[in-house]
């Protein structure tokens, strides 16, 4: 029996070891780093302990720009992508022929390398010496002026950015919403039909309340995901996001850690902790609101 007890732990050992070294220790360490003032990775020196790192980060114009960008992305992409996904899922569940085909097509962005497909978006929107790009030609056709969406004004870049983010996050939302909608008990619909309820009312009074847990789950994960946006921005605008004015908070963390502006893990840690304070607050608010409005 004694031997058996050890054996149970033995099975957990590899996982526990990896988790301790690469998850638990770093979590503690990040707080230590964040209080070591001005820690320089190259010289391994810091000049004291305190909250200077946080104040440095909060006064860094690049960080403020990153925060602004991230908030714009969150505010635009989360409601839009969730709303469109809901519309599409309701549409999908109301048809029979071609449904499988549509579902398969809609899922494709999930299995693509977002760094690679981002380049296609860049090509479609970029203004070059040879051509204004397909999207600009479309705008011209409707009588508009060409805009450089990749190296041009901030609003134009933000537009492509949000469009691409929505394109990337849609598959997951559509998948979850369609399975939620199709698992609603058909008896409710039949009862409503007997009563002659209008389709809009059916959606508002039956479908929406029944899928509200999934919807809130998607909104919460959507917020978290959007706050951690980074690689989609790299896909469109390259690795020097500060120069493009399109950096995100996570991007700022990595830039502080590595690359031409890197070598400052303590600033990176402070920025990461600020990010997660924001995310935790938003998630807490979301959970509070969803408790009030979820049907179950």
């Amino acid at each position: 029996m004694e031997k058996d007890q050890y054996k149970g732990w033995l099975y957990l050992l590899p996982a526990a070891l990896f988790l301790a070294v690469f998850l638990v220790y770093p979590l503690v360490d990040v707080f230590v780093y964040s209080t070591e003032e001005g820690y320089n990775f190259a010289s391994q020196t810091s000049f004291g302990t305190g909250l200077y790192n946080f104040s440095y980060v909060l006064h860094d114009p690049y960080f403020l720009q990153a925060v602004k960008n991230t908030f714009i992305m969150v505010v635009i992409t989360v409601p839009l992508s969730t709303g469109i996904a809901l519309l599409i899922s309701v549409g999908l569940c109301s048809i029979e022929p071609l449904r499988k085909l549509f579902q398969t097509v809609y899922f494709l962005p999930y299995v693509t390398n977002t760094l690679a497909v981002g380049l296609v978006f860049m090509v479609l929107f970029k203004k070059t010496a040879y051509s204004d790009g397909l999207v600009n030609l479309l705008i011209n056709a409707f009588g508009g002026e060409s805009v450089d969406f990749i190296d041009g004004p901030h609003a134009a870049k933000m537009f492509v950015m949000c469009l691409y983010i929505i394109w990337v996050v849609m598959p997951f939302k559509i998948l979850l919403l369609t399975s939620a909608i199709s698992s609603v008990n058909p008896n409710y619909y039949n009862a409503a039909r007997v009563d002659g309820t209008s389709p809009f009312r059916i959606f508002y009074k039956i479908t929406l309340p029944m899928i509200s847990p999934t919807l809130f789950y998607l909104i919460i994960t959507g917020f978290i995901g959007a706050f951690k946006e980074y690689s989609n921005a790299v896909a469109l605008f390259g690795t020097d996001l500060n120069a493009a004015g399109m950096n995100t908070i996570v991007g700022y963390v990595y830039d502080m850690l590595y690359g031409d502006s890197g070598g400052y893990p303590s600033y990176a840690s402070a920025a990461a902790i600020i990010l997660f304070t924001i995310v935790l607050t938003i998630t807490y608010l979301n959970l509070t609101i969803s408790k009030k409005h979820t049907y179950y």
Binding site: L23, D29, V30, F172
Partner: protein, 286 residues
Amino acid sequence: MENTLEKNHKASAAVRKIITYTGLAVWALMVLFPFYWMILTSVKSYGEYNSEYVPKFYAASPTMQNYLDAFSTVPLGRYLLNTLVFTVITTAIMLVVVTLAAYGFARLSFPGKDLVFTCFLALMMIPNELVVITNFVTITNFHLRNSFTGLILPSVTSVFYIYLLKESFSQVPDALYYAAKVDGTSDLRYLWKVMIPICRPTLITVGILKVIECWNSYIWPRLITDEQAYFLVSNGIQEIRENGFGRENIPAMMAAVVVISVPLLVLFLCFREKIMAGVSRGGTKG
């Protein structure tokens, strides 16, 4: 009266159908268009592409030259091979680690098990962005940058997959375990001969999800590698974009994009049901 009502109803149903299909088709087009455009551009020659001020929706003289360029001018083959090695090894090690842990939690009993399991679950809440900073420093201090070991080590465990597998293992009836015990089967042998075959669907799902994650991973590989010899496809394509084919050879770049995208698309079309079911159970990215 009755008749017109029914007619009206039928007409409005038809209109609704048309609107629904149009809306669905528009989004399908939005999804497919970038794929169409990358394939189209990749078969246009450099001269043809740059001479079209208004890009054509077909290639006048399709060429495979861009694909040859993609493999010869930049080390795309190297990137693909690296990614394949990284993906296979990471997924394999992860499956072993995760299976052992899940089995420990599901079948074996030892003191403190529940407490440890709760702690494991709590670890799920730790965001990657917080721990990556120290992991970067750890790997650098171990001199493991620009090595497969450094790339692979931090991503071989996943609490979430342990949880998924544990749930699956727990559904296997206890009676089988006791029967095997009476027969003198060892725990490890029982895991291998009974549990794994029964829970194969979950294992495959976990494996596929991990493969997708590995193939698309960008941030960690970028932090940990700066020698091209160790670049994965995501970093490779970034490198190609920034100083790849020179003079903005968009068609060759698109050929590289196609080559990078194809493996996962093929995997998806082969395991469509499995992947979609798996993602709805355990996917993120949204």
